[in-house]
């Protein structure tokens, strides 16, 4: 596979001995215009990679924070097509920051796998994380996406044992996303030593970078996690800031963009200290 923005980003970070801060927001949260502003601001705030959530009505692996964020985006009219439009607009003045779309399979399936891969690639998407597509379903989207030059980033979890890891890693590219806990996004925080062991275990089977997420909320946690991995992913803590910044009608306020980016900056600083 050709080098992608993800490969380049991790390579450059590696050369500086620095870790990746991966920032998650839902596309269109709290509305498409504000969401694009947040997205534009994230690289300056220190995000090395943007994970853009594709909103879905039934986000089965997500906790209350990301469920709510997904709901806000859908209520504001976000669609998968709208998500790809956002990426396209982001790319008009940023050609470096990798964008990974994260979500569930059904909207992609309904969009049409071939059309989706084509449009995502054209829009400037670099990778995909599809929560409900394990290796057993690789024929659906993973293989076609890889063939088209999109990274397919797989989740490895505490239940992925040594016997299963090679299968999970087989068609993974870009990086490996280690889910640090058994649970949904935004729940319990992981223990640093447990995460370290897991990262070491995964690295026995792959040369890919390993980013760790689920339950990372503070700059301190981000620092602790990033110090034992190649990157830290933060989602719930960021979208909680969006939620808290909204006015009484649940609409964007003067604080929404600034507060969200301020939180991103704090988290990025934590990761950079690692």
């Amino acid at each position: 596979m050709q080098q992608t923005r993800l490969d380049n980003t991790f390579k450059q970070l590696g050369e500086r001995n620095s870790k990746a801060f991966v920032a998650f927001v839902s596309a269109g949260d709290p509305d498409p215009v504000t969401s694009l502003k947040i997205m534009h601001g994230l690289p300056t705030a220190g995000a090395d990679i943007i994970e853009l959530g594709m909103p879905f009505t039934d986000p089965m692996a997500d906790g209350p924070s990301i469920q709510a964020s997904s709901q806000r985006a859908l209520k504001a009219g976000m669609t998968l097509k709208g998500t790809l439009d956002m990426v396209r607009q982001f790319r008009t003045d940023n050609d470096e920051t990798p964008i990974v779309l994260m979500g569930y399979y059904n909207p992609v399936y309904i969009y049409g796998v071939d059309a989706f891969i084509h449009d995502a690639k054209q829009a400037g998407v670099d990778g995909l994380i599809i929560v409900d597509l394990p290796p057993e379903e690789d024929e659906e989207l993973c293989i076609p996406a890889l063939n088209a030059g999109l990274n397919f980033i797989r989740l490895a979890t505490p239940t992925t044992d040594d016997a299963r890891l090679p299968e999970v890693l087989a068609n993974t590219s870009g990086f490996v996303y280690y889910v640090s806990i058994t649970g949904i996004t935004g729940s319990a925080s992981p223990e640093q030593n447990v995460v370290e062991e897991a990262v070491v275990r995964i690295k026995r089977y792959t040369d890919l970078p390993v980013a760790v997420g689920f339950g990372v909320r503070t700059a301190e946690q981000a620092e602790a996690i990033a110090s034992v991995a190649d990157g830290a992913v933060v989602g719930s803590a960021l979208v909680d800031v969006i939620a808290e910044s909204l006015d009484s009608q649940g609409l964007t306020s003067a604080k929404t963009v600034t507060e969200t980016l301020k939180k991103a900056q704090e988290l990025a600083d934590g990761v950079k200290r690692a």
Binding site: F56, D58, A61, Q67, K81, N106, P134, T157, T159, R164
Partner: protein
Amino acid sequence: MSKANSYTTGPDENGRFGIFGGRFVAETLMPLILDLEKAYGAARQDPAFLDQLQDLQTHYVGRPSPLYFAERLTEHYGGAKIYLKRDELNHTGSHKINNCLGQILLAKRMGKRRIIAETGAGQHGVAVATVAARFGLPCTIFMGATDIERQKPNVFRMKLLGAEIMPVTSGAGTLKDAMNEALRDWVTNVDSTFYIIGTVAGPHPYPAMVRDFQSIIGQETKQQMLEREGRLPDTLCACIGGGSNAMGLFYPFLDDESVDIIGVEAGGHGIDTPEHAASLAGGKPGVLHGNRTYLLQDDDGQITEGHSISAGLDYPGIGPEHAYLKDTGRVTYVSATDQEALDAFQLCTKLEGIIPALEPSHALSHVGKIAPDLPSDHLLVMNMCGRGDKDVFSVAEHLNVDIG
């Protein structure tokens, strides 16, 4: 689609029925469902497991359930000979217990220490709480807040049985949302917990496993009909939420070509309105809750809410095997509206002295549509899969009767 040689060979090793089914779950759950598949594969061939299951079915559930000739309904419609498969007489009042017994024995066998389940009407929840009590395992039932409101008697029954009820407020607070929440619990408590899914949906092996545990309905029906009438029935009819009572009745007859098979979905206010739960009639293939099947959804692939008078039917999906049986044409799928179900509910109560659940009332309403035009030697079996005790309050409301 080409005609299959046998309709009973599915699913394949990937859990597929044609293009439907599969294992669309998060990685955290993947090792668990592989484990479950292995454990179930071993259990179903273990005579000790099967003996224990059968013993409980006989002495705890009260099986076999009767195949009852509904003389007055038959007279009323003046056509086909109508038989009711009386699964409403089972302990706990519906077919749901057939599956729950199988799964709890499996949970025990796998050394699991905690049970979770989703429920809509509360019939599955009650059946789960019942077997959990019987086997001394703690259980947590996820139930939509809306359903908790309309199925109060069942909520209290579950509590009496010692279950913890977790109200689910996300989405419309109905069955789909309860299932999301149960899955979220399962990813969190992977080691201790066994998830008893209540219908022929979810990731492989659930659709096949639940079907197998429910197939006793069809096996008994076949034998009872042969004893009574000396031949197979001509038509089978069952209601469909996720489709477990229907699969249970249909499965042993799928390769009996002479048998007409009809599934009845919940038509709500009518399938030409947005307010229904007929996934096959009004949905299209998509992926939710671990499998590919027909789903009610919009053009963006967002899942829409099902509506039905019956809390047990308003699921926006349907078991993947039904999706396959629809596309192959082996089973005919139709729908009945809320009003038609209410009418059938009252008719059956008055004519047969059997208060049916609102779910099978949908099937009965379809029986009423076809029976008059069928000859008097036409043998028609309807699955009376649940009793209506749980529904009397909401029926009173629909009939504008104040029962306090």
